[in-house]
Amino acid sequence: MTDAVSTATRPGRPAISGVVRRLPEYLMIWVPLLFSAAHLVSFSLWTIWISFTPSTLVPVSGWVGLRNYTAVMASRNWQIAFDNLLLFGSAFVLLSLVTGLVLAILLDQRIRGENVLRSIFLYPLAVSFVVTGTVWSWLLNPGIGIQKLVHDLGWTSFRFDWLVNRDMAIWTIVIAAIWQSSGFAMALFLAGLRSVDADIIKAAQIDGAGPIRIYRRVILPTLWPITITVVVVQLQFAISAFDLVRALTNGGPGIATQLPALVVYDLMFQRGLLGRGAAAAVLMLLILLAVLLPYAAWRYFRRATHA
């Protein structure tokens, strides 16, 4: 392997032996890439096709036009899931952005033990969503979690029952998701803060700007490309969120915390309505594209104007 890599950078090799020597690279890069691309594309196309068929328990051919879509969009389940997504998506993205930024600014003050703190804040990212969901479902369970702890400490009128409260349950998902991923936002913001030229801050000090003005006028405006990246990454997590919700609330109480991915799972594998499930999945894909396409366009134009 090392041999192939080192020869790859050396020009002027005879063509045939070059190809042979680089064969391991081709195999390692292209085979998995083609395989996963084929997987992704073929299954996406297959799902799109299914969404136009009257398939129920097993896939069948046939054409029902947009009937599956209208049925899904008319269902109360989907409407609640969509409303929840709007609330969860915006609250989670906004709050994790703010949390991450505040943590990054605090860490940026050249404090002692920064490395330890940074690892602690980043650590939740290494935990699987199922674990996060399960642990938070215990913590938030009024009978065994935080509420019980406070009761045992003597404050018996304390109430923290969001997990079982119809109106508040969605916020438990927001809390768990922020706990899990604001470390990611922090890491990106911290890198951005650290890349600001120290001379710029010195210049601002000489110009007479205090710390708040320096952050507001000089440093934070340089972070907006990072902010957009963070927003897009978090949004696509929010849109496709499944495991966290399934472990934490499983859509409940009732269907109060239903999210699109749960609806897809429910339709496909619990109710045996493949066609409708596929239609819901395609709708999710469209929502994702609504986020990712503008982002791709922005990246493209940014690169074009900076070149």
């Binding site: 030229d197 001379d199 010195k202 000090q205 000489i206 110009d207």
Partner: protein, 369 residues
């Protein structure tokens, strides 16, 4: 009045002493260049003057006021940075007005000040642009505009030209000098480039290992370097320095290079009375490359002193030819006219200008005469 007085200033980081007792007095209207190799402490000194770093000991006075505990914004200074340090998200206009905005200067006054500075630096067409849309030279100009608009007691420049390409650097060098002549500001300018120091300064402070080696006007620094470090640092190519012996002959001092060798060089010195105590001892002789020329050159004054010396290497630069030769076995550089190209390996005649020879004490490395 002294615009800037630095007294017994020192700076220590843990066990590392970066500045060791600096004393400098800079008069109002002077263009002082702090020059030295990297790591000599010149930028640290500038940062301490600006208030971006704290001194371990000593005092700094700006305009007669001790400013050790005064924050940078209240020191009445402006600074231009090597990286320009423009605020990337602001337009050129906002970059220039940001300081006034922080000091709550009325809008109308800000407008007037920007207009003046933009005219002075010819950056009027750039006012609406962002720094990323400017070239290096334009950024440099804006950075100077940001400093000028403040009209401070003291301008601090931290290697402002070292990020520019060679051609632009020469242009900006002249422009800064012209600017100084026009507005008569007091400038402290840090650079590692001795050419910048020689061309721009009214006084040069040569720094090395946290100490000021010499603080004098450019001609003095060049002609009478205080010690061997200054002699070897200023000038390009630097001053030739070589071991020699001082002897007395017919009552006058004679410096002998390569004493005892068949090719020893004996040079009679005139007006070097200060060297008398060193007669009969080893000295270090310094001679600038331009004081060694082709044999036909006549240096003003006395009869020419001609030496035959072996040529080792020839470097034509276009404007002159640099020759590496051996004087009494010691290597030396000579600057001769461009159209003469001695053959490497052969001997050639060289004229020496002995009036500008420097003698240094080999122990203290200080200038004797």
């Amino acid at each position: 009045m002294a615009a800037l007085s630095i007294r017994a200033l020192s700076k220590r980081y843990a066990n590392l002493e970066v500045l060791k007792g600096i004393d400098l007095d800079i008069e109002s209207g002077e263009f002082t260049v702090l020059v030295g190799p990297s790591g000599c402490g010149k930028s640290t000194l500038l940062n301490i003057v600006a208030g971006l770093d704290r001194a371990s000991d000593g005092t700094i006075e700006i305009g007669g006021r001790i400013v050790n505990d005064v924050p940078p914004k209240d020191r009445d200074i402006a600074m231009v940075f090597q990286s320009y340090a423009l605020y990337p998200s602001m337009t050129v206009r906002q970059n220039i007005t940001f300081g006034m905005e922080c000091r709550h200067v009325p809008k109308a006054e800000q407008e007037k000040a920007v207009a003046n500075v933009a005219k002075l630096l010819q950056i009027e067409p750039l006012l609406g642009r962002k720094p990323s849309q400017l070239s290096g030279g334009q950024r440099q100009r804006v950075a100077m505009g940001r400093a000028l608009v403040r009209d401070p007691l003291l301008f601090l420049f931290d290697e402002p030209l070292s990020n520019l390409d060679a051609k632009l650097r020469v242009e900006m060098r002249m422009e800064i000098k012209r600017l100084h002549q026009r507005i008569g500001a007091t400038i402290v300018y840090v650079t590692h480039d001795q050419v910048e120091a020689m061309t721009m300064a009214t006084r040069i402070a040569v720094m090395h290992q946290g100490e000021v080696q010499q603080f004098a006007d450019p001609d003095t620094v060049y002609r009478y370097p205080a010690n061997l470090f200054v002699a070897r640092f200023m000038g390009s190519p630097p001053m030739n320095t070589m071991r020699a012996r001082l002897e007395a002959e017919n009552g006058g001092p004679v410096v002998v290079i390569g004493a005892g060798r068949p090719d020893e060089v004996r040079l009679r010195l005139r007006g070097y009375d200060a060297a008398a105590p060193f007669v009969g001892r080893e000295v270090v002789l310094g001679i600038r490359p331009e004081c060694i020329a082709e044999g036909s050159r006549v240096f003003a004054g006395d009869a020419p002193i001609i030496v035959n010396a072996p040529v080792e290497m020839v470097e034509p630069t276009g404007a002159e030819t640099i020759v590496l030769l051996r004087l009494g076995g010691e290597p030396a550089m000579a600057r001769i006219t461009p159209d003469i190209r001695p053959t490497p390996g052969a001997s050639a005649a060289f004229a020496l200008d002995t009036r500008r020879i420097c003698l240094f004490d080999p122990e203290t490395e200080r200038l004797i005469a």
